[in-house]
């Protein structure tokens, strides 16, 4: 059935909760009758089937992620979420110091199978509701990071994450949810997929080539994957053939896929929605520059937001987020110059 990301995630969570009694959801406003099902309707209605296992909490992010940590250690499979990724900062210690480290500190004796869900993206709400936090967690050993750009991947990765014995942090994009009704987002992009009725998973750690091409590799996650595809389409007209890679998992990176593509094309652009400084693009880019410098016909190049917080003004916001045009321009320039 055709589903948007919100709907596909809802189904995947439902499936997992049905399959495994140790799965539960914990977060703010996730299962209030008459409420929203979380900030973007992902858990809407789940409380009807699983009242005990949809835990609505006070507004206490450190409490939520700490509780998820403890429950996971005791054998549960919590799915904890924040309404906006930005609020992970309020739970940062619990995520980075407890969830990510406890297993290592224990000498590998315990497990912390937490799933953490966090909506990201610059979407008309100003600086404190617009951050793409991926880069903050790229420095954190002990967690896996996934970032699905389609409904198929979202559901498949969610299931993998729930079944994974390690902590998994899943970034979702507000403009890709396809949330409906009062929770619809303006400026949304269609990320819906045909979701099989039968159980399936998408493996953590595997990227995917969204479009094959010869001249240049373009790497982008979440919204930037879609914008990269759009840019590639634009460039088709001028005879530039782009290979678009969706890493899907940011840690561990699917280096084999990435390096393989860049070996073929010799050029690479990494597209990020967040500021360039210390971004995910730095790590991906360095992996390429370190590992296959001899294949590079052009410098590894990043397209990213300016090194500022997100401005509110829609005009400025549009300049802030790399648009397909800007991505295409960069690619064109790179092909022309090298």
């Amino acid at each position: 059935m055709r589903m948007g990301i919100a709907e596909a995630l809802r189904k995947a969570i439902h499936d997992e909760m049905e399959r495994d009694k140790s799965v539960f959801c914990i977060g703010e406003d996730i299962g209030i009758p008459g409420g929203y099902g979380g900030a973007f309707t992902v858990t809407l209605g789940l409380e009807k089937d699983f009242r005990e296992r949809i835990i609505d909490t006070p507004i206490s992010e450190a409490g939520i992620f700490g509780a998820a940590c403890g429950a996971a250690i005791m054998g549960m499979r919590p799915i904890a979420d924040v309404q906006y990724g930005d609020f992970l900062f309020c739970a940062m210690d619990q995520v980075v110091d407890q969830i990510a480290k406890l297993r290592y500190m224990s000498g590998g004796k315990l497990k912390v199978p937490v799933v953490m869900r966090a909506p990201v993206g610059v979407t008309g709400r100003g600086a404190q509701h617009s951050q793409n936090l991926e880069s903050y967690f790229m420095s954190c050993p002990g967690i896996k990071i996934v970032a699905p750009a389609t409904a198929y991947d979202a559901a498949g990765l969610l299931k993998s994450a729930v079944r994974d014995d390690d902590p998994v942090l899943m970034f979702e994009h507000k403009l890709l949810y396809g949330s409906k009704g009062i929770r619809a987002e303006s400026g949304s992009i269609d990320a819906s997929s045909d979701i099989p009725e039968d159980d399936y998973t998408v493996p953590i750690g595997r990227g995917i080539i969204r479009r094959e091409g010869q001249d240049i590799t373009v790497i982008g996650s979440l919204l930037m994957m879609h914008f990269s595809l759009q840019a590639s389409q634009m460039l088709e007209g001028v005879g530039i053939s782009c290979e678009v890679i969706d890493p899907r998992t940011l840690w561990p990176l699917d280096l084999e896929l990435i390096l393989g593509s860049v070996k073929k094309t010799g050029r690479v652009v990494i597209v990020e929605e967040s500021p360039k400084q210390g971004g995910v693009g730095a790590e991906i880019g360095m992996q390429i520059a370190e590992n296959i410098p001899d294949y590079l016909l052009a410098p590894v190049t990043r397209v990213a937001a300016p090194n500022t917080p997100a401005p509110f003004s829609p005009t400025l916001e549009k300049l802030y987020v790399p648009q397909p045009e800007r991505i295409a321009d960069t690619i064109k320039r790179l092909i022309e110059e090298y």
Binding site: T308, P311, S313
Partner: protein, 332 residues
């Protein structure tokens, strides 16, 4: 006649201002609600309809040098603190004329030069900041007060705990105003905390806790005055809980389906505006016609503000890299 004493004490001039501000908030919020639903205004909004007595009651006791901090729901506080509706509307439209030059938006409304920190949309996030603002006043021996507005939901954040405790031990001249509107987004306080009165949390910090009727601007005024006076006289911070209610959705397009009809009805009957208007009429401060005149004038100001906002220039593209660092350009 009820409220005669306080009415006399406050005096007609101030009462007029209070009524006007409350009407401005109501008029402003109703107008932009419409503009949002029409899709003409960008972003998201959290509105203050029904809570007008809180912001106006508290801000009416403040002096010029005082400072307030707000939340994701800041329009009411901004108007009550005296920000111009023009600059607010400019901000909502994301224009260069906005009080934050279009960089902030609805959730970061504020203007320090008017005594209001740009609002902090992280629930509970402004509380330690207000402690620090108050601490600055104390360190410099200034008789100024810092006021934090936040919700019932915010009182469950760690920042609330740390901020209040630190204000307590430093005896910072701060007032922590908890607008208890019974819900944090869709979550009833019954689910979020096991006590009736958030003011009782003051006991954890050894500071004063107090409660006022957040639908009655005069009651808010009296309790806020005591708290602010105490802070100003170095008697320490107060946690002041205002019992109130949202007569609107949590954020745009929220139909409040998580509230019962009886509950909505009950609180609708406590609407702070007719309540205050009646007191003023009963005490012969205003006639009905005078109030109607004020309402008309308020409506014109709101219309004017909308015109101003809509008609204002967009920020310059170069602005994106401006106003981050004082001492350097944004590095590439």
């Amino acid at each position: 006649m009820a409220y005669e004493g306080i009415i006399t004490r406050i005096g007609k001039e101030k009462l007029t201002e209070m009524l006007r501000r409350m009407l401005e908030i109501r008029g402003f919020e109703e107008k932009i609600r419409f503009l949002f639903l029409e899709g003409e205004m960008p972003g998201t909004i959290h509105q203050y309809i029904g809570m007008e007595a809180c912001a106006v009651g508290v801000c009416s006791v403040l002096e010029k040098g005082d400072v307030i901090a707000s939340t994701h729901r800041p329009h009411g506080h901004a108007i009550a603190r005296g920000l111009s509706m023009d600059a607010m509307m400019g901000e909502l439209y994301g224009r260069a004329t906005g009080c934050c030059m279009g960089k902030g938006g609805s959730m970061h409304m504020g203007d320090l030069s008017k005594g209001m920190l740009p609002a902090i949309a992280i629930v509970g996030g402004n509380i330690p900041v207000v402690t620090g603002m108050a601490l600055a006043f104390k360190l410099r021996n200034e008789r100024r007060v810092a006021v934090s507005f936040f919700g019932d939901g915010a009182s469950n954040e760690g920042a609330f705990h740390e901020g209040l405790n630190m204000a307590a031990v430093t005896k910072a001249p701060a007032v922590f105003v908890c607008e208890n509107n019974l819900y944090g987004a869709s979550t009833s306080i019954k689910r979020a905390l096991k006590i009736e009165n958030i003011a009782d949390r003051a006991l954890s910090y050894g500071i004063r806790g107090d409660i006022a009727d957040g639908m009655n601007v005069l009651d808010v005024y009296e309790h806020a005055k005591e708290a602010v006076d105490r802070a100003r006289s170095a008697e320490g911070p107060t946690l002041l809980e205002l019992k109130t209610f949202r007569l609107c959705g949590h954020s745009r397009r929220d139909p409040n389906n998580y509230m019962s009809d009886e509950e909505k009805e009950e609180w609708k009957n406590k609407d702070p505006l007719p309540y205050f208007e009646n007191i003023l009429k009963n005490n012969e401060i205003f006639t009905g016609e005078e109030i109607a005149d004020i309402k008309q004038s308020v409506e014109r100001s709101v219309e004017k503000a909308i015109e101003f906002g809509k008609g204002s220039p967009e920020p310059d593209p170069a602005d994106i890299r401006k106003g981050l660092y004082v001492t350097m350009e944004v590095p590439e």
